[in-house]
């Protein structure tokens, strides 16, 4: 493979301005993450201490193998919801190594509203388990939840992909032969009781852990029976009498040590104990990514410069370099793992669309995962293109993306607008992991364009009722729409709604992709097959 030759002038004023701007965005991102991860009201931390409970992140660090990476997902979930009162949606999830096995962790954060499950908490847990199913990753549940947040029950209970989906996913994982370990570190009440019950292995902490379908107050209300937490569903009841829990533990550290032992009995990935081979970092400094991304989303840049700072040795074998040049396709390695990359260098035309569909079939046939680097405003519109079949070609690309058997990974590098999102394997297309950069925008069309359209409609509506607006009046209508639109198309909004699996510092993307790829390759996919390509 040939090394990409960078054409960047790293001393140009544009580069330096971008660098400063993007570093600022990353600093904001890290500050926001730090707050969400660590800052809690003192009374919540005091309560944990009184209950003899460890902080959720300390539990996770104790669980993970030392000297190994942890890819946290959706750190900033719910950052724009519930008045920002539920950091991370009260759940910490991520991919890490426990006793040498790749696992995905779902941990309730009892320092946030007692670990109550908000609608976005449910969504985050369901997403975690979907990742487990799609990538065949064993799950470790760190259970410590007060149960569903009742005031918002309508948003978390009845529908297909809400709370019940958690337990359906757990059952599916078991059916697939993917093991789960639950560590009961607090109360598992009502639905929450099913998390340990549906895990093939569970550990319960004596004194603080409890499992029951109804807690003492509910039992008293229902039948008049008076019973303590421990008598109803404590460690000894469930490990000695009912058989609901498997391993009693004397304290949290003991429980975590037992869980590590359990995970150590799971089958190990083939080739996991491979001989050491030195990774080859990119030939160009990944920090230069900050200088490449323009401040204005309308400004184009060459995706090859991005690729050159993500892949091993900056080496990239470009496929069809002269054809369909607005879609860069080619093969590269990330931490020694081969991927097929599709990256946008402009709007998708007929040729680039066809090239994309073709290249995806190549990846599928060669069993190489596909990595989509999105910076797409959409497909080309206009008479010439329609006559040439751009709609049909877009459909072919979507058919290829949707039907792909090999794992797909997506990074929204800059813009992700409209149908371009689909062809470039957006969320709906079962991409195994979707990450987004801090400055990225994602919406059905660009904010400016959309707010113009919406303002226009509003202005006409008012005109019909006899109200005619001047420029200032129109601006007054347009500005708030633009603001709101921008907010709802920001990376922060996307991650809040868990439309993605986390905002990444561009510099971190290489490592994140390596970990994601390694996880994804646990389920490499079946033989290639697709629906009908409209030719």
């Amino acid at each position: 493979m040939r090394r990409i030759l960078s054409q960047l002038d790293t001393r140009s004023p544009d580069f330096l301005a971008n660098m400063a701007h993007n570093r600022g965005l990353v600093a904001d991102l890290r500050a926001a993450q730090q707050r969400v991860r660590r800052e809690r009201p003192q009374r919540d931390l005091d309560r944990l201490a009184r209950q003899n409970k460890m902080f959720v992140r300390d539990r996770i660090e104790a669980l993970l193998d030392p000297g190994t990476p942890f890819l946290e997902l959706s750190t900033l979930a719910a950052n724009q919801a519930y008045d920002g009162d539920v950091p991370g949606a009260g759940i910490v999830s991520g991919i890490g190594i426990v006793s040498g096995r790749e696992v995905i962790i779902h941990a309730d954060d009892a320092s946030v509203k007692g670990g109550a499950w908000y609608p976005l908490s449910i969504k985050k847990i369901v997403r975690t388990l979907d990742i487990a199913i799609e990538n065949r990753l064993p799950v470790v549940h760190l259970c410590d939840s007060a149960g569903g947040f009742l005031p918002l029950q309508a948003e978390l209970f009845a529908d297909r992909y809400l709370a019940g989906r958690i337990f359906r996913n757990q059952a599916t994982l078991s059916k697939m032969g993917v093991p789960q370990v639950a560590i009961v570190l607090g109360h598992c009440t009502a639905g929450g009781a099913y998390v340990p019950a549906l895990s093939e292995y569970n550990v319960i902490v004596r004194g603080t852990g409890a499992i029951f379908l109804g807690g003492p107050p509910l039992v008293k209300a229902a039948t008049g029976e008076e019973v303590t937490v421990d008598e109803l569903g404590g460690a000894d009841v469930h490990t000695r009498i009912s058989g609901t829990a498997d391993y009693p533990a004397d304290n949290e550290r003991h429980a975590i040590a037992i869980a590590r032992e359990i995970v150590g009995t799971f089958p190990q990935k083939l080739g996991a104990r491979l001989a050491w081979s030195d990774p080859e970092p990119p030939a160009y400094d990944p920090a230069e990514l900050y200088g490449i991304i323009p401040k204005d989303i309308k400004v184009q840049f060459d995706m090859r410069e991005i690729i050159a700072r993500l892949v091993d040795g900056s080496r990239f074998h470009e496929y069809q370099p002269a054809y369909g040049t607005t879609l860069v396709c080619g093969f590269a390695e990330i931490w020694g793992m081969t991927v097929g990359i599709l990256a946008n260098n402009g709007v998708l035309f007929n040729d680039s669309t066809l090239k994309g569909a073709h290249f995806l079939q190549l990846c599928d046939k060669r069993r190489v995962p596909a990595l989509f680097l999105q910076n797409i405003t959409g497909y080309m519109v206009g008479r010439e293109y329609e006559h040439r079949g751009i709609t049909k070609d877009g459909a072919k690309m979507i058919m290829a993306v949707a039907g792909l058997e090999v794992p797909k990974l997506t990074v929204v590098v800059n813009g992700s607008f409209g149908a371009g999102n689909y062809g470039m394997s957006g969320r709906a297309f079962d991409t195994r992991f979707l990450f987004i950069w801090p400055q990225s925008q994602i919406s059905v069309m660009g904010a400016e364009q959309a707010s113009n359209v919406l303002a226009d409609i509003k202005v006409r509506q008012l005109a019909r009722h006899g109200q005619n607006l001047d420029t200032a009046g129109i601006a007054a209508i347009r500005e708030p729409i633009l603001e709101e639109y921008r907010r709802q198309s920001s990376a922060y909004y996307s991650t809040s709604e868990i439309w993605d699996d986390g905002i990444l510092d561009p510099f971190d993307t290489r490592n994140a992709l390596a970990i994601a790829l390694s996880a994804a390759l646990n389920a490499p996919g079946g033989d290639p097959r697709y629906g009908v390509f409209r030719m």
């Binding site: 030392p66 004596r206 009693p248 533990a249 003991h254 040590a257 590590r260």
Partner: protein, 164 residues
Amino acid sequence: MRHAFDIAGTETEVWLERARDGYRLGGDAGRALVALLHRGGNTLLSLDGGEEPVHLVLDGELIHLHVAGGHYTLRHLDPARRFADAEAGGGADAARAPMPGTVVRVDVAVGDHVATGDPLVVIESMKLETTIRAWHDGTVSAVHVTAGQSFERDAVLVTLAAEA
């Protein structure tokens, strides 16, 4: 949670991380690139590039070693056992009868020092004899039954005190 060693009375957490040549040591004692080399019948400790001879013998949970002119004995603390309470609530340090039966023989007396695996009490139930053995090193703090005695399920048979 990680392994630890009792080094001169201090519980010292340690772990190894895979590295290209050998391992990286982590934990309470510090970090270093380490490996044990075997050359011409001798064992050498390689630590951050420096090498020195070492003699070591594994003895159950104990490691006897000689390095840098001194002798040391370390005790390995298994992660799952480290954090278990020695006197856990629920009588974890007592052996309870798994089912009703009778005592065939009592092999220990109060005050006896026992090592893990030493027989304590032999019981018989449903025509099957079971030997209850010491589940850790320690001292017999109480024997609750005598030979010939009958007991119910869950009856306490022997209580051990933890190793001093």
